[in-house]
């Protein structure tokens, strides 16, 4: 456990000045900021629609969730999986890392956990900032009715689903980025996979849930559909979440065997 902990600390220390780390903070800040600015500037038009409070929250948080779930999330995950591995490929430091008196599992697991942690921070900030900026809008424009509904449960549920649904992609991309030192292969496969995943999910293919790249889309769509009806009734652990978790754990284990067999040339 100690080896895992120090490997994790080292991952943070190495990456704290890189875009990969700051993306986790800047991405939610920028997207939530832009949406809030849009709501602030168009306040009159939006208020004229006389949305009930819950629908107003749905409109507002759905803007971020929609963009995230469909498009940015898969690419963000692909980028995270790439960057935690690329930091070693780029500097030719794998040999140094594996020559340290640490077990290989700790080194590998720390990288994987660190990528998960960054994704968690990113999504946590999305949820937190959506909530905070919504309330800030209410203060700035008192005629909004954000204050008449508490969306916290839905937000947490929706982002928790998105987080869990993205772990399948993460594990898959993590292996690709571990194996290949170049940018194009894992990114190219990830890009094609994501497009295919989104199409498969949107045409409603029966087996779309078997494609890891479809899962964030599937997960966020179900939470959206149900939001209009009974928002608190949707469960987190649906079929696509289980699929994602199974993919994540199986691929995580396969990745470890790849690492132990990996010869550092």
């Amino acid at each position: 456990m100690h080896a895992l902990y120090i490997s994790l600390v080292s991952e943070y220390y190495k990456s704290r000045k890189t875009l990969a780390f700051w993306a986790a903070i800047l991405l939610p800040l920028i997207i939530c900021g832009l949406i809030s600015a849009g709501f602030y500037n168009n306040a009159e038009k939006i208020i004229a629609n006389h949305y009930p409070p819950m629908l107003l929250w749905a409109q507002y948080s759905g803007a971020a969730l929609g963009v995230m779930g469909f498009l940015i999330m898969p690419f963000y995950v692909i980028f995270m999986a790439f960057s935690v591995n690329n930091i070693e490929h780029k500097n030719d430091t794998w040999k140094m890392l594996f020559a340290q008196p640490l077990n290989k599992f700790s080194i590998y697991a720390a990288k994987y956990l660190y990528a998960i942690l960054l994704i968690f921070i990113c999504l946590f900030l999305f949820a937190a900032l959506t909530y905070a900026f919504g309330n800030l809008l209410q203060v700035l424009v008192p005629t909004f009715n954000f204050n008449q509904y508490n969306p916290l449960d839905i937000l947490i549920n929706a982002y928790a689903k998105l987080f869990l649904a993205s772990l399948g992609i993460l594990s898959l991309q993590f292996i690709l980025s571990l194996l290949w030192s170049d940018f194009l292969k894992p990114m190219g496969i990830g890009f094609v996979g994501t497009i295919m995943g989104i199409i498969a999910a949107n045409v409603g293919w029966k087996y779309a849930y078997l494609i890891p790249y479809s899962l964030p889309t599937l997960a966020s769509r179900i939470s959206k559909v149900k939001k209009g009806m009974d928002p608190l009734a949707f469960s987190i652990f649906t079929q696509e979440i289980w699929t994602s978790l199974i993919y994540a754990s199986v691929l995580f284990i396969i990745g470890y065997f790849i690492v132990t067999k990996k010869s550092i040339k």
Binding site: I6, Y13, K14, N91, K95, Q100, S263
Partner: protein, 302 residues
């Protein structure tokens, strides 16, 4: 086995069908500076990677501190510091941050980073990003990383690569210091015989994955017999004369005759002989064999 910091027993290693290391039996005594000598592509780096368990060796072929490497990986790595090929440095971090990161991984005090930077003469560049470092500075940082855990055994793969003459002398003195004052064992690889001769107590010569020679530096000197090169007019008759007088002329070019060097006195006598016979000797000097000739010698005697 207890006397050796490193011992390999008939080590074989292949990349696919290609044999990189063949029946290699290294014996690196405790406290020695072991010069691991060979041309580029001889298998030096591969061997060092095997010693670090970066490349998997067959079981019971590699022993470090008397322990089998595959089953004692972590315990062994705790006692080794290494510099393999180009130093492994994170370019976006400063020199100091690179060392602090190593401190984190090794669980040692971060103050050690500053100490190491002064040791390798990088204190002033401590807060400069490592990708702005020159090749020599990177090499020094790599050496600092290898030394930071105060290891008993150092594996240095061409540590003077990219260093200027001053840097080379500093590294050389540092190695001698570490071995004599701090009882470290150092395995240092190089393709330059002259470089190894100045520091090493023991030498192993590898070519095409096979160990051609292993022994103390004095044993190597016995093999590497120096030559006496003579620049003289009328080469043909001069060499005929020398042969008549019982000298063994090993090589003869248009300008230079080479005979085996025996002693300074003998060289003087040879000079007198030539002059008394009316030759003009323009130059007469002792020449050590270079690595290539040494290789030929060693392969021939084997």
């Amino acid at each position: 086995m207890g006397n050796y910091a490193i011992e390999t027993v008939g080590l074989n290693f292949n990349f696919g069908n290609q044999t990189i290391v063949k029946d290699l039996s290294l014996q690196v005594p405790n406290g020695s500076i072991y010069g691991f000598l060979g041309p580029n592509g001889a298998g030096k780096t591969t061997t060092i990677k095997i010693l670090l368990n970066l490349l998997k060796s067959p079981s019971d072929q590699v022993f470090i501190f008397g322990k089998e490497i595959n089953s004692n990986r972590i315990a062994i790595l705790k006692r080794i510091g290494a510099l393999v090929e180009q130093p492994a440095i994170y370019g976006h971090l400063t020199g100091k941050e690179n060392l602090v990161n190593r401190c984190i991984l090794l669980g040692i005090k971060k103050a050690k980073a500053d100490e190491m930077l002064s040791l390798v003469g990088l204190a002033e560049a401590a807060n400069k990003k490592a990708n702005k470092y020159s090749l020599g500075m990177k090499q020094r940082l790599g050496i600092a990383q290898a030394l930071i855990s105060d290891p008993e055994l150092l594996l240095l793969d061409e540590p003077t690569n990219g260093l200027d003459p001053n840097g080379i002398i500093e590294v050389r003195n540092l190695m001698i210091d570490l071995a004599t004052k701090h009882q470290k064992t150092i395995l240092v690889s190089s393709h330059l015989l002259a470089e190894i001769e100045r520091t090493a107590t023991h030498v192993g010569i590898i070519n095409k994955g096979q160990l051609l020679f292993q022994g103390t530096i004095n044993e190597l000197h016995l093999l590497s017999k120096p030559m006496l090169e003579i620049e003289v007019d009328n080469i043909e008759s001069a060499s005929t004369l020398l042969i008549k007088q019982g000298y063994e002329v090993t090589t003869k070019t248009e300008k230079v005759i080479s005979v085996l060097f025996v002693s300074s006195q003998k060289s003087g006598e040879l000079n007198t002989l030539l002059i008394q016979n009316g030759f003009t000797v323009s130059s007469l000097y002792q020449q050590r064999k270079d690595l290539e000739n040494l290789f030929l010698d060693i392969t021939n005697t084997n």
